[in-house]
């Protein structure tokens, strides 16, 4: 194969000629970040990968445990039991809140969804380096897929929760349908959060060490085990703190879910403009997180 092109290493072609040659044959710079529309298209083509990856991770999660998939339901229930023992029984919060068990369990499950999505998101890229380095796909598929796994996990938990609700004599009602929009908004919010954290975690692995503390603080501030409005009622806190506590996305999604599921949780216990907050948070986190993640697409898995 003798060719007119210069091959000996001594004769380096000038930069223009290489670039021109590449351009003439439609070659592109390797590893460059695709444009946003192209990126979204590629991601959409990988939708089956995203769902298959989430399902595979979910089933693999407890594959080494003797009880296997039973842990899908046992883990969240045990979590709720621990909080019930400490906050319900020892600290006696249950006298302030009607239907305390469903109230607590809903809070724990909904917050766990966001918490686990954030944790998984932080490690989504840094923990899948083998996959990232072996195959080419839009990296945003990973954090999104991890959030989807958490959503599936939550659906298992919700099944258990519905059983609990029925056991505690909460009759099924039409408001249960509100679960769907609430969960959709929360999923979009979680995905955006996971995308943003995935970029941070990919660059600074130390974030993964820090996240559990941040998330625990967030949990205690989100009214998972107590009712925020009850706590706020007899306090003289600055207005900013009140707004901050009520606008907190985790609290917003938890309140919506309680409103949907628990009969005694009436609309007057919801903070003002709660659906606007829920939608706003989903949009800000979803769009912002996606853009932020995409901006560093070419750097993932390098080094």
């Amino acid at each position: 194969m003798t060719l007119v092109l210069d091959k000996p290493p001594t004769a380096e072609p000038p930069a223009e000629s290489a670039a021109a040659l590449a351009a003439r044959h439609g070659l592109t710079v390797s590893g460059a970040r695709p444009s946003l529309p192209a990126y979204v298209r590629e991601l959409w083509r990988r939708r089956h990968f995203i769902t298959a990856f989430a399902t595979a991770k979910l089933t693999a999660q407890y594959s080494r445990a003797k009880l296997g998939q039973l842990w899908q339901v046992l883990t969240p229930l045990l979590n709720a039991a621990v909080y019930y023992f400490i906050f319900g029984v020892l600290m006696d919060t249950k006298h302030d809140v009607p239907d305390y068990v469903p109230f607590l369990v809903t809070g724990v499950f909904v917050f766990t969804f966001t918490q686990q999505s954030a944790l998984a998101g932080t490690r989504a890229v840094s923990g899948s380096l083998g996959l990232v380095r072996a195959l080419h796909f839009p990296r945003a598929a990973l954090p999104i897929s991890y959030c989807l796994q958490q959503l599936q996990q939550l659906l298992f938990s919700l099944g258990a929760l519905l059983a609990i609700l029925l056991c505690f004599g909460v009759p099924p009602s039409a408001s249960w349908l509100l679960v769907l929009p609430a969960l959709t908004l929360q999923f979009v919010f979680n995905a955006g959060l996971a995308l943003a954290l995935a970029r941070l975690g990919a660059r600074t692995p130390d974030i993964a060490q820090l996240m559990p503390f941040v998330l625990r603080t967030w949990m205690y501030a989100s009214g998972v085990m107590w009712s925020i409005d009850k706590v706020l009622a007899d306090r003289d806190l600055p207005r900013a703190v009140t707004v901050l506590l009520e606008a907190n996305p985790a609290a917003v999604y938890i309140d919506l879910m309680r409103f949907a599921l628990i009969d005694s949780f009436h609309a007057d216990r919801l903070p003002p403009h709660v659906w606007a907050w829920a939608t706003g948070w989903a949009l800000i986190a979803g769009v912002g997180g996606f853009l932020y993640f995409w901006k560093a697409e070419e750097t993932y898995g390098r080094g």
Binding site: P8, T28, S30, A52, A56
Partner: protein, 275 residues
């Protein structure tokens, strides 16, 4: 991303005009930055780590060691070429391949490629907790195949890898595989797609003779479909069997670039017959 794959076996008719380039590497320098793995004394000591963080604030990347792995390499690869990369350990072969695959940034220069090159290496881990079958399915979907394609090719990929030769391993988690089996399955997944540019890092050395012959046939088929194949290997025979052109790297510099027979003669004289 390239359009849908051509049907397997249907080779593109040869044209009479000179083959088009698929990879243009233009005066490329690659520098590794290794964080925090500097002097052994600095590692792990909390005060040293804190110092590193504080110094990084100042702008200069102190505490980060740099390794200049590839220096001023230029070449152009054409359609249908199989190019071997040889060189002693640490000469920058694998680094160069990673950069062509777009997995490492270049310090200076540019790398242009047709489509998205795929790197097949022995270190590329899939998901160890999942079964071989699941890994095949996920790998195919991740590479952008449709669900139908994934279903059609799944069995073929398992057959190609030969992991089921000694029992039904494809339904067991990958963590139960021997390293050779895992490497074979990874290669089989990666090679299942018709890539424009395929980069193979030592992967052909894994597996028994039968598997090596299957993978060499696969490399030939890819070349006939007008793709370009790069092969890094320390096995001079496998370079001679597979490649028609060889790049010889030494200390990150391109020492020779030419037909396999000529370059390998010089390279073997340099290494004294060893590889």
């Amino acid at each position: 991303m390239a359009a849908a794959d051509a049907t397997p076996g249907a080779s593109t008719p040869r044209t009479h005009e000179p083959p088009a380039p698929t990879v243009v590497v233009d005066a490329v320098d690659i520098v590794y930055r290794v964080h925090g793995s500097g002097a052994a004394t600095a590692r792990g000591a909390a005060t040293a780590a804190l110092g590193r963080v504080l110094r990084r604030r100042g702008g200069a990347e102190a505490g980060v060691r740099t390794v200049h792995a590839v220096r001023g390499v230029s070449f152009t690869a054409l359609r249908g070429e199989a190019i071997g990369l040889v060189g002693t350990n640490g000469s920058g072969k694998s680094t160069l391949l990673k950069a062509v695959a777009g997995l490492l940034p270049v310090e200076r220069g540019r790398i242009y490629t047709e489509g998205q090159p795929s790197l097949l290496g022995v270190n590329a881990a899939l998901m160890n907790d999942l079964t071989g079958e699941r890994n095949v399915r996920l790998g195919c979907l991740a590479m952008g195949m449709s669900r139908e394609e994934t279903r059609e090719r799944g069995a073929g990929i398992v057959d190609f890898s030969g992991i089921d030769d000694k029992g039904d391993f494809s339904s067991l988690p990958m963590r139960t595989y021997s390293s050779g089996m895992a490497a074979r399955l990874r290669f089989s997944i990666g090679a299942a797609k018709d890539h424009d540019v395929l980069l193979i890092d030592e992967a052909l050395a894994t597996g028994d003779r039968a598997f090596q012959q299957r993978s060499q046939a696969r490399v030939r088929a890819l070349r006939e479909r007008a793709g370009t194949v790069f092969l890094v290997s320390h096995n001079n025979k496998s370079i001679r069997d597979t490649c028609d052109r060889v790049l010889w790297l030494e200390h990150g510099e391109l020492r020779l670039d030419g037909p396999t027979a000529e370059v390998m003669k010089e390279y073997e004289r340099f290494t004294g017959g060893r590889s």
